[in-house]
């Protein structure tokens, strides 16, 4: 790549990413998927079940690539150390998964509803003039 046309490339890339989403994120996500696909079958099944739960419940917006990378780190390490799946997840898989996902930005609708509740209670408690509905 040439040294000088750095700026035009960035602009082009900016336009492109408006349409496609971040290319870097896509690359990171694909890398995550590859790492998961290379796990031993039981670990792969568990990791995929976990991703499904996270995304379908809207616990996360799925845009935080760090989350996927942390997840892949954990499963790769566990597979190599031969940590039994049950030891990894504990008696209640939901508890672990929720503790895990709480570390990353929440999904959009979850955030919206949290803010809605917080401001509704604020108004109901008389701490804010009525009529304002901040949902962001």
């Amino acid at each position: 790549m040439a040294a000088e046309p750095n700026e035009p490339k960035n602009r082009y890339r900016r336009y492109l990413e408006v349409v496609t989403g971040s290319l870097e994120d896509k690359r990171r996500y694909r890398r995550y998927k590859t790492r998961i696909s290379q796990l031993p079958p039981d670990y792969r099944t568990a990791a995929e079940a976990m991703e499904r739960y996270l995304l379908h419940l809207g616990l996360t917006d799925g845009a935080d690539m760090t989350m996927y990378e942390d997840l892949a780190d954990l499963f790769e390490r566990s597979a190599i150390d031969e940590t039994p799946i049950r030891d990894l997840f504990g008696e209640d898989p939901v508890e672990f998964v929720e503790a895990f996902v709480a570390n990353y930005p929440a999904g959009q609708w979850r955030n919206r509803e949290r803010n809605r509740l917080t401001s509704a209670i604020k108004r109901a408690a008389g701490e804010e003039p009525a009529g304002e509905d901040r949902t962001e």
Binding site: E76, R77, G90, A99
Partner: protein
């Protein structure tokens, strides 16, 4: 370990892990192993991992990646100044709580 202890541990696990790390740096697996040795056998390895991610994000620990014979490098966690401060606060809160609970128990007799 019963259900009760698991519930009670939830709020204190962070302090416990920081206290372990105040002794010496450790990686996730060592921490879980130590907890199991001490009889906390119900703690999921994943839960500890999630906790370590959290205290790292909050800047309570320093992380060093140490190459491992097999697989990805291990993350070794050590308590930093901010973590020590937080741990102090944890112990203060703990003493308060334990004191009040003890009072309740005495009072109930």
């Amino acid at each position: 370990m019963g259900k009760l202890v698991t519930e009670m541990l939830k709020g204190t696990l962070e302090g416990i892990v920081l206290a372990i790390l105040s002794g010496r740096p450790a990686y996730g697996y060592e921490i879980t192993a130590w907890l199991r040795d001490q009889g906390f056998s119900d703690i999921a390895e994943g839960t500890i991992y999630a906790l370590l991610v959290r205290i790292e994000q909050r800047g309570l620990v320093d992380v060093e990646k140490v190459p491992s014979e097999k697989g990805p490098p291990r993350k070794v966690y050590s308590l930093n100044a901010q973590g020590r401060e937080y741990l102090e606060e944890f112990w203060t809160t703990w003493s308060f709580l334990a004191g009040r609970l003890e009072q309740l128990r005495e009072g109930g007799k």
